[in-house]
Subunit: 128 residues, 2 copies
DNA sequence: ATGAACCTTCCTGTTACTGGAAGGTCAAGG
DNA sequence: CCTTGACCTTCCAGTAACAGGAAGGTTCAT
C-alpha cells in the first residue's frame, strides 16, 4: 500500500512516517515508480510507534521496544533486561495516570466553582 | 527556595524550570539578588508538570490542566468540558499502557529466544 | 579573601517533528 | 490524447521543547 493508506491505517501523518524512515525505524519497499510500499507488518509497527510515542516514550526508547519484536531470537538476557526495565516504567506511568485521573475526576464531580477551602483538589495537592 | 532546590524537589532540571517560566507556566518571586524564589505551591505545580509531560501530554495540554487547578472558581462548564476531555484521553492512555504491558510481559515470560512460529507475541501482533 | 557552589542572561544545538515549494505519477473524464 | 485532481517524491526551512555552555554576579565556608 502507499504511504497515504499506511498513514490512515496507523494514525501517523505521512510526514512522520517518512521521518521514521529517515532515522531508520522502518524500511518499506519501493515500487518501480519510486513510491514507498508498505505491508501489513509495517502498519503494525507504525501503530506500535504511534502508541508508544503518545505514551511518553522517546524515539530511542521506541527503537528499543521495536527491537524487542524484531529481534526476538536474540540472546534472551538482553531482551529480558530491556523489557523488564520498560515494564517498571510502564507500571509507574499507569500509576501516575491513575492518580491524575482520580484528581481530575474529583475536579469534575466535586469542585464545581465554589470557593477554595472546601475544594477536595486542594487537599490532594497539599499532600505533596 | 532557590531554583536548585525546586529542581531537586520537583525532579525537573533547572533549565526546564526556567524554560517553563519563559513560556509563562510559572511565575516565581524574585529576591533582591535577582534569584528566583519558589514556594511550596510552585513545587507542586512543577511536579505536576513533570508528571503530565512524561505521560505524553504536550506543554499546551499541561497548561490547560494547570489552569484547571489555578482557575478553580471559573465558570464550571468550561472547566468540566476540558477536564472531561482529558479524562477520556487519560483512560485511553491507561488502556494502551495496559495493553503494552501485557505484550511486554508475554515477551519476558513466554518468548525466551525460541523460534518464531510458537511465540505468543507474534499472535498478538498479527491480530491487528 | 579566595574558592566552590550556587545563581543570572544569552546564544547555540538537538530532537522530533511540521509546512511548503517544486516537481513526478496515476486514474478518471471530456 | 489531454487535462485535472489527488496522489506521490525530495529538499529546505520552521517550530516545540528543551539541553549545553559561555560569561559573569552572589553566597558561604574555610
Amino acid at each position: 500500500m502507499n504511504i497515504g493508506e499506511a498513514s490512515s491505517r496507523s494514525g501517523l501523518p505521512a510526514k512522520t512516517i517518512r521521518y521514521y524512515e529517515d532515522i531508520g525505524l522502518i524500511r518499506p519497499d519501493r515500487g518501480d515508480n519510486g513510491y514507498r510500499d508498505y505491508g501489513a507488518d509495517d502498519v503494525h509497527k507504525l501503530r506500535f510507534l504511534h502508541r508508544s510515542r503518545s505514551l511518553g516514550f522517546s524515539v530511542e526508547e521506541c527503537r528499543q521496544l521495536l527491537a524487542l519484536y524484531e529481534d526476538k531470537s536474540r540472546a534472551s538476557a538482553d531482551v529480558k533486561d530491556i523489557a523488564a526495565t520498560k515494564l517498571t516504567e510502564i507500571d509507574r506511568k499507569i500509576r501516575e495516570l491513575t492518580e491524575l485521573r482520580r484528581t481530575l475526576e474529583h475536579l469534575v464531580h466535586a469542585c464545581h466553582g465554589n470557593e477554595r477551602p472546601d475544594c477536595p483538589i486542594l487537599e490532594e495537592l497539599s499532600e505533596g
